[in-house]
């Protein structure tokens, strides 16, 4: 039966008349037009351009950190403790006389090394859980989603603090913690469109022609849920940056001497009146990084959703 349908389909395909030359040229021109239109929309999308640019600068800074700074972020006693900004040390020094500018530039590595992989991990976990829940349905769906509800009941920062306290503060543990934090809400975002797409006729058609479940998921369902996941992953990266900063502000972040913006901001508290710059620069770095991903996420949402253009 299955073979018959397949054979029938392939026969039908081969008996279709070959596209005429004019038709091909017309579609080529159409494709070109579409590409141009896409570029025009992209150029008009200021959020996407600004956000993308800001993220690119951040990533470049993290990669090229050694080329940007003239001092090591770990070297103690480069200047007096809490020195004001000068020509050599443009953001001044911290409590131990380390170059604050170098620490902020290197801090971007800590931030990105925690936030991007943790969100990637959450996306993978959410795809697996959300696809299974949505596609299989029934009891499996109920069990998985109730489990996610349990995690969602805990205030994010509180759950993160408890997990980090259990695992111990280190970069891999922060990564796992933040992934655990964002998996539940993301798996909901995956599940909802799966439920909707699953009922479509073309999925039923694929199933009767004997296409395997894995292939249906990869070929027909994944493309439908790609845009909401891309948007949410970008926005979650911003949230992950803020949570990482909050955890390290509370002393539960990457352990010293790793430079971390939240820790820099919190340790500047005792010197705030005498050295306000020591609080301003790390704080602005956090705001910059989070805003970059928020703008990029909102821009992507406008770009990927034609209704919002």
């Amino acid at each position: 039966m299955r073979l018959w349908i397949r054979g029938f389909a392939s026969v039908k395909m081969t008996t279709l008349p070959a596209p005429s030359a004019t038709f091909t040229r017309a579609t080529e021109a159409g494709a070109l037009q579409q590409t141009r239109a896409a570029w025009r929309v992209l150029a008009k999308n200021k959020l996407l351009l600004v956000g993308g640019g800001m993220v690119a600068v951040l990533v470049l800074l993290a990669i090229c950190a050694p080329l940007v700074v003239s001092h090591s972020p770990f070297e103690i006693g480069l200047g007096p403790s809490m020195a004001p900004p000068s020509a050599d040390l443009i953001m001044g020094t911290d409590k131990l006389g380390r170059d604050l500018f170098a620490r902020i530039v290197y801090g971007s590595r800590t931030t990105l090394l925690v936030s991007i992989p943790s969100v990637a991990l959450a996306v993978i976990a959410a795809l697996v859980l959300g696809l299974i829940a949505g596609y299989v349905g029934g009891r499996v769906d109920q069990t998985i989603m109730r489990l996610m509800d349990i995690f969602l009941a805990f205030p994010g920062l509180l759950l993160a603090m408890a997990i980090v306290a259990v695992l111990g503060p280190s970069i891999p543990n922060l990564l796992i913690t933040i992934a655990v934090l964002y998996t539940p809400s993301m798996s909901r975002i995956v599940r909802a469109p799966v439920l909707a797409v699953k009922e479509k006729e073309y999925i039923a058609a694929a199933r009767v022609t004997g296409v395997s479940d894995v292939r249906i998921i990869v070929r027909h369902i994944l493309p439908n849920i790609a845009s909401p996941i891309i948007v949410d992953a970008t926005l979650s990266t911003a949230r992950a940056i803020l949570i990482e900063a909050a955890l390290s502000y509370l002393g539960l972040g990457a352990p010293p001497p790793n430079p971390s913006w939240g820790e820099m901001l919190s340790s500047s508290r005792q010197f705030m009146t005498s050295a306000p710059w020591s609080a301003l620069f790390p704080g602005l770095a956090i705001v910059y990084a989070a805003t970059a991903f928020i703008l990029l996420g909102n821009g992507l949402r406008d770009w990927l959703d034609p209704r919002r253009r």
């Binding site: 489990l147 205030p155 408890a162 911003a238 803020l242 909050a246 919190s266 500047s268 301003l280 705001v287």
Partner: protein
Amino acid sequence: MSRYIISRLVLMIPVVLGITLLSFVVIKMLPGDLAVAIVGQETASSNPQALETIRAELGLNRPLHEQYLSWLAGMLRGDFGKSLALKTQILPTILSALPTTIELALLSVAFGLLAGAPIGVLAATRGGVFDALTRLAVSLGVGVPSFFIATLLLLFIAPNMRWIPVFSFAPLTEDPTRNLLSMIFPVISIGMGLAMTIAENVRSAVLDVLHENYVTVAHAKGLSQRVVIGRHVLKNAAIPIISVLGLQTGFLLSGTIIIETIFSLPGLGKLVVTGINLRDYPLVQGVLLFTAVAVVSINLITDLLYAFVDPRIRFR
């Protein structure tokens, strides 16, 4: 309606059980021995007998599922156990910290609504430059963490406004003026982000309603813009705004943790940070469980309110 309430309550049972299980497991996974933490490292090595007594007392030598069940039974009786560091009963400690956190959260919501709602309405109805500015402020505002706002307030505003007390909290019942004044900076720190979220949601809720026929009719009747917005638009835009506020509970509690720590306000957040720093795990476990159940209950109440306001939801 009563049927809807009962079905929602039944659905809540597995979630609450799951919350207790997760709170139990997280703390059980901790490296180290609770009994050693109680008697201290030195006593533990010199006097193994004392260690065993404490283990037996706490039931730590029983199988895990028995420990969980007896812990759960204790919770149901309101016995959250004793804090290691503070040497007090956990539930009364949590309850005494609760009013400060609730006050901070409610005032922050009030600030968020008072600042955010008018901005959202103006952005939706005026449009143009004001709308563009609001949208810009919203996307920038969400990326500013509450603890940085707190830092900026302490840095630039507090030194010029010495009449606002910082770091010197007084309970509401003892010195209401001092209490409310000392809440100003913490409330602004948490409320700013909330105001941005509210402004964004009010803006889109109002925009959705603004083009409904009944709004056009209200205008055609000759009602003033103010009356149309107040009577017809805001009333209908209120429902999505209520649900957004309900969803912010977790966010609010996260905000209070860090802001209470910065301004040394004796609330739940400060309590849990103290608990984590002093490795007082029964206390952390208690706060974890307490807040999660509170969040679930608040979500339930918002859902019920929502169903009460909008009958369509009950029959879905």
